[in-house]
């Protein structure tokens, strides 16, 4: 299941709703991404997340389906916010539930790595010097491609 929204989310409520009435779930893994204070406390460093409505939902759904193909998941959830967010605010939530912990933990890591390089979001940071588009990092590509290699060799 995936959602793209401007509003905040309640981590506990989301996990409870995802696993309610499914006693086949033995383990739940979650990842929560927060807005980091890039200015190092030197001032405001809010950011605005722009996205591509339509393609965002489509890509997240594709990534979610891929996780279900690769791991025996009972349930999964991706919630990604857009709009202006202050430091400390939640940006993204990934939850995976499976009978066993390894599938839950691995698929959760896969989902966040993949969505960082595939989902069409762009961060515009407010800095003391003015607004600045965050550049994509090679380390994010490397983290995502790791899953590709493991898939190819395994």
């Amino acid at each position: 299941m995936i959602r793209v929204q401007a509003d905040d989310f309640d981590i506990g409520a989301e996990i409870r709703a995802l696993t309610a009435a499914n006693t086949g779930v033995g383990g739940v893994a979650s990842f929560v991404g927060l807005v980091r204070d890039m200015a190092g406390g030197a001032g405001e460093s809010a950011m605005t997340l722009e996205h591509y409505p339509g393609m965002t939902e489509r890509m997240l759904a594709e990534i979610d389906e891929e996780a279900h193909r690769r791991w025996p998941l009972e349930a999964s959830l991706i919630v990604h916010r857009h709009g202006r967010l202050e430091p400390g605010e939640r940006i993204v939530l990934v939850v995976t539930a499976s009978a066993h912990r390894r599938a839950a933990l691995e698929s959760c890591a896969f989902l966040i790595d993949w969505l960082k390089t595939r989902a069409p979001f762009w961060k515009l940071e407010e800095t003391p010097e003015g607004a600045r588009w965050v550049e994509a990092r090679a380390s994010d590509d490397a983290a995502a491609s790791k899953w590709r290699r493991e898939d190819a060799t395994g």
């Binding site: 591509y52 990604h80 993204v92 969505l115 762009w122 588009w133 994509a136």
Partner: protein, 83 residues
């Protein structure tokens, strides 16, 4: 064809979307980008580096050889930075 621009490509080009009629002979993603770049100004600046520009056709990632026509939605944007 509908063309969408995002993030700093949108800012450099100065619009988030436009409807265009493709000139004869333009039938793939690389052709569209070359044609837009030829408009100069913000287009040339935004689309100057092929290694940076990402493309989606009808909301799916596409490459330079992906065919496009007047009924397609093409989006041009920089590498994504979500999560």
């Amino acid at each position: 064809m509908k063309i969408l621009y995002f993030a700093w490509l949108r800012q450099k080009i100065g619009t988030d979307a436009e409807d265009v009629a493709l000139p004869a002979g333009v039938g793939d993603v690389a052709g569209v980008i070359d044609w837009l770049r030829g408009r100069g100004g913000g287009y040339a600046e935004a689309l100057g580096d092929d290694a940076i520009v990402r493309v989606a056709v009808n909301q799916a990632y596409a490459g330079p050889d992906t065919p496009v026509g007047d009924d397609d939605e093409v989006a041009l944007f920089p590498p994504v930075t979500g999560g």
